[in-house]
């Protein structure tokens, strides 16, 4: 092979470059249905072994993490089992709270996120589940924290998700107290936050309010957390306020997601709000405290009983060993007085 300096810049190179450049431009401006079809076709044919390889790698990584997590859980469980059953119950309860899948009543498919090297990874995600698993376009995708996005295209064994970070993402939403409704979209500046748009000027939404999907439009079920209000982004013409939202879930760091394959109904119960979690936690802590106080009272009662028994035993021993005075001994041994004797004679 010729060395680099010996290579010549030929017309053939220019033609090849122009052809590739033209094909790229065609892909860039082709209708989305075409480009999605090409993507799915490539993923299912040429790239299938590579995607399979990546899925195995993700599984291997997940297995290691799971093994570590299970080992930690086993260690902590064995530690707790030594003498703190109330905390063990609390641990179990928190685990149940964390497992979103147990709470979801709708049918879902669990999928692994196969992150890519592109700088735009996060706007769209490649998932390891596809139409073979029952996934279809427009299925909502959620993480335990909240909404991730919607399935854009489902191939046989993989699917593409448009996350909330994508410029074309929209979801109809309302505040958790129900006093304001609007549409959530990524911020125009693309700074990784969301905007709650179309809120009437008369409706003010306090900072910290949770915003949930409203279920309108039929794509997203009602009640999925979308984000938390962090402030007013802008006010438009005195009739509308746009609020800034801190997204509930981060697609850039998520490793596993659930695809809701039947998205009807209300799933709000599957995502307890922070306040609900706090209340449950307070409640469980209160119960533990109560259990602790009962145990403390029982312990104190036992101690008191043991003290009193010991005191009684001490007193008894003291009485038994007390020296008897000589006069009283004599009095006890002396015959009864004559009057008494007289009275006793018939």
């Amino acid at each position: 092979m010729a060395s680099a300096s010996e290579r010549s810049y030929t017309r053939r190179d220019t033609v090849l470059f122009v052809v590739c450049f033209g094909l790229s431009l065609f892909g860039l401006f082709a209708p989305p249905s075409w480009s999605q079809g090409i993507s799915a076709g490539l993923r299912e044919t040429v790239l299938r072994p590579l995607v399979w390889l990546q899925v195995r790698a993700e599984e291997g990584k997940t297995s290691r993490v799971r093994l570590r997590a299970i080992t930690e859980q086993r260690d902590s469980a064995s530690y707790l089992a030594q003498g703190l059953p109330s905390l063990l119950a609390e641990n179990e309860r928190l685990r149940q709270l964390l497992s979103l899948s147990h709470r979801l009543s709708t049918r879902y498919v669990a999928a692994e996120v196969l992150h890519q090297a592109q700088a735009t990874d996060g706007r769209t995600l490649l998932l390891s589940a596809g139409s073979e698993d029952g996934v279809a376009a427009f299925d909502p995708v959620v993480a335990p924290e909240g909404l991730i996005g919607v399935v854009l295209n489902a191939a046989e064994r993989s699917s593409i998700v448009m996350t909330w970070a994508h410029p074309e993402f929209r979801v109809s939403a309302f505040t958790v107290n129900g006093n304001a409704a609007g549409v959530v979209a990524p911020s125009a500046g693309g700074d990784g936050v969301l905007e709650f748009r179309g809120v009437p000027y008369r409706d003010s939404v306090p900072v910290g309010t949770l915003v949930l999907s409203s279920g309108l439009g039929g794509v997203y079920p009602k009640g999925i957390p979308v984000g938390t209000v962090t402030g007013v982004a802008r006010e438009q013409l005195g009739w509308e306020r746009v609020y800034r939202l801190l997204p509930a879930a981060n697609p850039g760091s998520v490793a596993h997601v659930l695809i809701l394959v039947t998205s009807s109904g209300d799933v709000a119960h599957a995502f307890p709000s922070d306040s609900a979690l706090a209340a449950q936690r307070r409640d469980s802590l209160e119960r533990i405290r109560l259990a602790d106080s009962v145990a403390q009272a029982a312990r104190e009662a036992r101690e008191r009983r043991a003290d009193s028994l010991a005191a009684l035993r001490r007193d008894t021993t003291r009485v038994a060993r007390r020296p008897v005075p000589v006069d009283s001994a004599r009095k006890a041994a002396a015959p009864p007085p004559p009057a008494a004797v007289k009275d006793s004679t018939p």
Binding site: S5, L23, L50, G190, G192
Partner: protein, 165 residues
């Protein structure tokens, strides 16, 4: 002198190793945004040993694969990789010698340019472009360049690379 056919075979072996590393090892590494892009390193190594036209075709293929797996804006990856592949091969033939550090720096600059083109063509906002190009892209470029350095050192006989900086 090593025959051209053997040289091509050696290059193919290295590229195959890099493709396997990209899809099997990369997911196990640290964050996906700063882990080395083995596929891009493979493209740059290919571009260093081939003509601009062939490199443009290789770049197009790599970009198409990236677009199929991350279709944020289909065609953006293909366009960026085509341009970078073509420019890498052309610029290396014109400007650079077979030097280890220069080759590694070449990979880093190419990756940064690739990210810039992808983000610009994808129509991202100003803030994400700045963050990507100022933080994540340089980090990924550095990690990829470091890995390319390791590959070049490991296969320096095959790539006929000089070790003097």
């Amino acid at each position: 002198m090593i025959p051209a056919r053997a040289n091509r075979l050696q290059l193919a072996v290295v590229l195959l190793i890099l493709v396997v590393l990209h899809f099997y090892v990369r997911p196990r590494l640290w964050g996906p945004r700063t882990s080395p892009d083995f596929l891009f390193v493979a493209l740059m190594l290919f571009a260093m040993r081939n003509g601009p036209g062939t490199s443009a075709v290789a770049g197009f293929a790599v970009g198409l694969a990236s677009d199929a797996l991350t279709p944020a804006h289909f065609g953006a990856g293909a366009l960026a990789h085509t341009v970078v592949g073509y420019l890498a091969s052309w610029a290396r033939a014109v400007f650079f010698a077979d030097n280890l550090l220069v080759n590694a720096a070449f990979v880093a600059v190419g990756m940064w340019l690739r990210d810039f083109l992808v983000l610009a063509v994808s129509g991202s906002g100003d803030q994400p472009i700045l963050t990507e190009l100022a933080v994540y892209s340089p980090l990924q470029a550095l990690s990829s360049a470091a890995f390319a350095l390791v590959i070049l050192l490991a296969f320096r006989e095959w790539f006929s690379i000089r070790l003097d900086a």
